[in-house]
Structures are given as structure tokens and as C-alpha cells.
């Protein structure tokens, strides 16, 4: 059974300016994003009856993010809170709306002045700091990039994938970013495979241009019941289906093999999402696939079943993901060249919504009807969720 058809729709999206924003705070970016997405929908703060906070959503210490924001947004009791990753939070909100738990919910995030990369960690002054997570990669100098680098290294070893293969992902997403005037990297122009290979290594085998950027920014998404959606300002983007799946930490405790034919969390979430939506892979007109590193996009394609295990790099090289291809993907430039603002898991959904509405200007896919967003995070494909959307 699909979610009861047309029970929930995305009715508002908003992105703040993305980039270095030294004059902004995380709070101000979140407030701007919430106001902006409500305005896009033609709704007001008083319409919000559920919150979908992200893992890094700023709030005052001593309370939870959703309780803090319930007070900030008008001191009213709200009806729903869903955590996880954006595609899955929106899927669960859609299911909750279908079940009658709430009518309007908002997903939001904003970050200023922090960095995800290694530069965000200051050296200890006079004494080794102690980390409470005994087996933490921090004691070995690990950070996000080093995990994905180890994942990439093993993947390249097993499937004879090269650095040049990975670089193709950075090349097509940068091309898309050049068509997106709001992207952080688009103004720097297109790049080639040679440019990626000539950029310095961060963690081998990942070069700098294999890595997402690391910037400030905020965003929000408003989801509403069909009844409310019909009165909103823009055409509804219906939720056809969605699901999430998760497991443990960065593969360090995962029995090998790391790359089984039956897939892992991304496959599980995607199979369920497509099953609920009642559509097949080849019906997707536009996609937003989590791309924190070039290798991530390639593995997304395999895990989601758009191609076979080990064939993700070839699938990219065949041009399917490039504008004009069979499934244009990350048309805003993705996390690699548009924006990675700390917890960007909603950004892929926002771009798919804009594509389905026909708002994308020079990067618009011709008349797309069905789109999909994939979020992953917290680990290498460890927390994954898939959302299938459509317009009438």
C-alpha cells in the first residue's frame, strides 16, 4: 500500500545564502529559514504543529531542540517531533500526517561559524584531552574525511575503481553548480578530472575536490496535509513514499564484506520507499543523492539499485546524472559544489522540490514529474533515508 495518496505534500522550501557568513549566527539562519519556507508556502508561524529538527539544530543548552523551538515559535504545544535524516523525517511526517497526528510540520537547520573539517578542531594547549568515547577515531587523528577515505580505499581495491573514476562525480556536479547562481562554487567555473587529481590530498585516496565544501548556511522545508496544501501558494509536491534504515558506527564494527550484493541501509530504505510509492527506478526524472564525497554518490547509485554493485563509476561516466542525462542528479551542484552547511541532509530534497515545481532556471530539467532524494549520514551510509516525490 502506498501512503494514502495525496495525504501529504511539501508546500514550502527555503535556503538562506550559503557560504562564509561571518555576520550571522546559527539561530538567525534557522529563523530566516523557517520564516522563508513558511512564506514560500503562504503559511504563518501559527500554522506549525510539528518539528523535524536536525542532529545539529542549534538550541539553548539544558533542553531539547524541539522543546526549545516549540517555545521560540510561539509558546504553543506542538503535536509531532521526528528525528533522523531529512528524507526519512519528511517520510515519517507524511505518514504521521496521513494518520492524523499533525497537519503542518517544518524541517529546519542552520549553522554559522563552525567547521566540519579538521580545521574546526583546535590543538590542546598543555594537556592531552580525554574523549569519553573510548574507541573514538579522535585518538587516531581520524575525522569525517578519513572514514570516507578508508571506505573509498576498500571500494577501489575490491572493484578496480580509480581516482579518475571518482573525479568524474566532482566534474559533473561542478558543471551543475555553474548553472546555479546561489551555489558556493559555481562562480569558480567548471573543473576537469585533471583538476581534481591535481588538487591536494586531504585523506588518500580523496583529493580536496573529492570532498564536499564546508560552509555556513540554513534551510527549511514545510510539509502539510493535502487539505492544507491545496490552499498554499505553490503547487504541492506530493510525497509518494519514503523510508529510513540505519545501523552502527562507521563500519568499524561491521563484519566484512563491506559491499555485499544485497546492499545495506541505503538499499533497505530505498526498496521500502519505492515499494510504498509503487514506482520503479526508471520512472525517476530527477534525483538528489547525498554526495558528501565523490565516492558517496557512486555507492548511492549501486545501493539504491540504479546500477549493479561495482558499476557506479561507469554509470556516472555514461552521463546519466548530468543535466540532459536519463536521471539528472544534484542539479544544484550538490554538497560538493553547492553547499555543505554542517547537516545538509535536507538540501537534496529542496532541489528536487524546486525541479518538480519548475523553478530552476538555467539548470531546469524539462517537465520532471517524479523525483527522489537520498539522505545519508552519521556514518558511512549508516543512517539512510529515501523520499519519493511527485507533482500532478
Amino acid at each position: 500500500m502506498p501512503f494514502p495518496k495525496r495525504q501529504a505534500a511539501i508546500v514550502g522550501v527555503y535556503t538562506t545564502k550559503q557560504g562564509k557568513l561571518p555576520d550571522r549566527t546559527s539561530f538567525s539562519l534557522q529563523l530566516e529559514a523557517i520564516r522563508g519556507a513558511l512564506d514560500d508556502a503562504g503559511l504563518t508561524t501559527a500554522d506549525i504543529d510539528g518539528l523535524l529538527p536536525m542532529s545539529g539544530t542549534a538550541h539553548m543548552p539544558g533542553t531539547t531542540a524541539h522543546q526549545f523551538w516549540a517555545e521560540q515559535l510561539g509558546e504553543r504545544p506542538l503535536s509531532l517531533v521526528e528525528i533522523g535524516g531529512a528524507s526519512g523525517q519528511l517520510a515519517k511526517a507524511a505518514a504521521s500526517i496521513a494518520a492524523g497526528l499533525t497537519d503542518v510540520a517544518v524541517l529546519f537547520f542552520g549553522r554559522a561559524g563552525a567547521r566540519t573539517g579538521p580545521g574546526g578542531t583546535k590543538a590542546a594547549a598543555d594537556r592531552a584531552p580525554r574523549v569519553a568515547d573510548d574507541w573514538s577515531f579522535a585518538t587516531a587523528g581520524g575525522y569525517m574525511t578519513s572514514w570516507y577515505a578508508m571506505w573509498a580505499q576498500r571500494y577501489m581495491y575490491e572493484f578496480n575503481v580509480t581516482n579518475a573514476d571518482l573525479a568524474e562525480v566532482a566534474v559533473f556536479t561542478r558543471y551543475h553548480a555553474t548553472l546555479n547562481p546561489d551555489s558556493v562554487m559555481g562562480s569558480r567555473g567548471e573543473i576537469t578530472v585533471e583538476d581534481v587529481l591535481a588538487s591536494r590530498y586531504v585523506c588518500e585516496p580523496l583529493h580536496l575536490l573529492d570532498c564536499s565544501i564546508d560552509n555556513d548556511g540554513g534551510y527549511a522545508v514545510v510539509i502539510a496535509s493535502a487539505e492544507r496544501a491545496r490552499d498554499c501558494r505553490k503547487k504541492p509536491v506530493w510525497i509518494l513514499g519514503g523510508a529510513e534504515a540505519y545501523y552502527t558506527d562507521f563500519y568499524a564494527t561491521i563484519n566484512d564484506p563491506w559491499f555485499p550484493n544485497q546492499g545495506k541501509a541505503v538499499r533497505k530504505a530505498t526498496d521500502r520507499a519505492f515499494g510504498l510509492a509503487g514506482i520503479s527506478r526508471d520512472e525517476i526524472d530527477v534525483a538528489g543523492l547525498y554526495d558528501c564525497f565523490t565516492v558517496t554518490t557512486i555507492r548511492d547509485l549501486e545501493e539504491m539499485g540504479f546500477c549493479k554493485l561495482g558499476e557506479g563509476a561507469d554509470y556516472v561516466k555514461e552521463g546519466h546524472l548530468r543535466l540532459g542525462g536519463s536521471m539528472p542528479t544534484n542539479t544544484d551542484g550538490g554538497l560538493l559544489s553547492n553547499s555543505h552547511c554542517g547537516d545538509p541532509s535536507g538540501m537534496h530534497t529542496i532541489e528536487v522540490v524546486r525541479q518538480l515545481r519548475g523553478e530552476c532556471g538555467a539548470r531546469q530539467v524539462p517537465d520532471p514529474r517524479i523525483g527522489v532524494s537520498l539522505q545519508q549520514g552519521w556514518a558511512v551510509h549508516g543512517l539512510a533515508s529515501t523520499l519519493v516525490m511527485a507533482v500532478d
Binding site: 578542531t121 590543538a123 592531552a128 585518538t139 587523528g141 578508508m150 576498500r154 591536494r200
Partner: protein, 147 residues
């Protein structure tokens, strides 16, 4: 068994916090033994340590010395490091798959004593021990296996 020279002082990189539940592990490291929780009921090793066996959910686990022999499952050469690690670039982080089976145990650590460009997936490695100056703790490292 390889015992490395003590790390250079002052040591400003993050270190694990020793607490009652992990103290047997760090006590063993100081005695130059690497111990892994092994299930008394099904015999599986469990790394990283969890409150119960992942295979059968038994809470009857015993800290059991392992050989320290492993192979590189995967690795990375870091050219940027967080905090004090940035002074050490390029440094190697490796996931070593312990010889003990059937449940594979992938142990994360810095691989030292081998030029980064010579590290390979599948390379034989073993646990080494390194005292930390000014701190009441011994850390484990990976080194190329002595043959």
C-alpha cells in the same frame, strides 16, 4: 611483540577516558596485552566492546588476549589532521582485521614505522604498544608484522 619508544612529550592528542567498564582493557595494554571481549557462550569475539555479545546477546563476556596479528582491511594517509595531529602529517590510519575469527574484528589505529606510500590493503600487521609520557595510559598502534 613490538614495544615502541614512548611518544614525544608533551603529548597533546586526544586520549581515551579510562572508566570502570573499560579499565580491564587499558590495564592489559599497560601490561602489553591486547584484550577483546569474547563471549563465554558462543565464543565470538566482539570489537569494539559492547555490553553484550552481538551474535547471541549474552552478557557473559571475558576480556581475552588476542594474538595481535592482523591484516590491513583498509587505510588512509591523512594529509590534514585535527588539532595536534596536524603536526604529524602525513600519518596513516588503518583498520586491521584481527586474525581471530569467525566474527571479524576491525581495530582502528595509527600504523607507524612504515612509509605511507608502502602501506597496502592486505598487508600483514601487528599490534604494538606505546607509553604516553605524563599520562597513566598505554596506547596501541599498528606496525608491519615482523616475520
Amino acid at each position: 611483540m613490538t614495544i615502541l619508544e614512548a611518544a614525544a612529550a608533551p603529548y597533546l592528542k586526544p586520549l581515551p577516558e579510562v572508566r570502570p567498564e573499560n579499565k580491564p582493557f587499558f590495564d592489559a595494554l599497560q601490561a602489553h596485552r591486547f584484550v577483546v571481549p569474547r563471549c563465554d557462550d558462543c565464543g565470538d569475539y566482539n570489537w569494539v566492546p559492547y555490553p553484550a555479545c552481538r551474535s547471541c546477546l549474552s552478557e557473559n563476556q571475558t576480556w581475552t588476549p588476542v594474538s595481535g596479528q592482523a591484516t590491513v582491511y583498509t587505510y588512509t594517509v591523512c594529509h590534514r589532521g585535527p588539532g595536534a595531529f596536524n603536526a604529524d602529517v602525513p600519518y596513516v590510519i588503518a583498520l586491521g582485521e584481527l586474525a581471530e575469527q569467525p566474527r571479524p574484528c576491525l581495530v582502528l589505529g595509527n600504523l607507524v614505522g612504515t612509509a605511507p606510500e608502502d602501506v597496502r590493503v592486505g598487508m600483514p600487521i601487528e599490534i604494538a604498544y606505546q607509553d604516553i609520557p605524563g599520562e597513566d595510559i598505554t596506547m596501541w598502534r599498528w606496525v608491519a608484522r615482523q616475520t
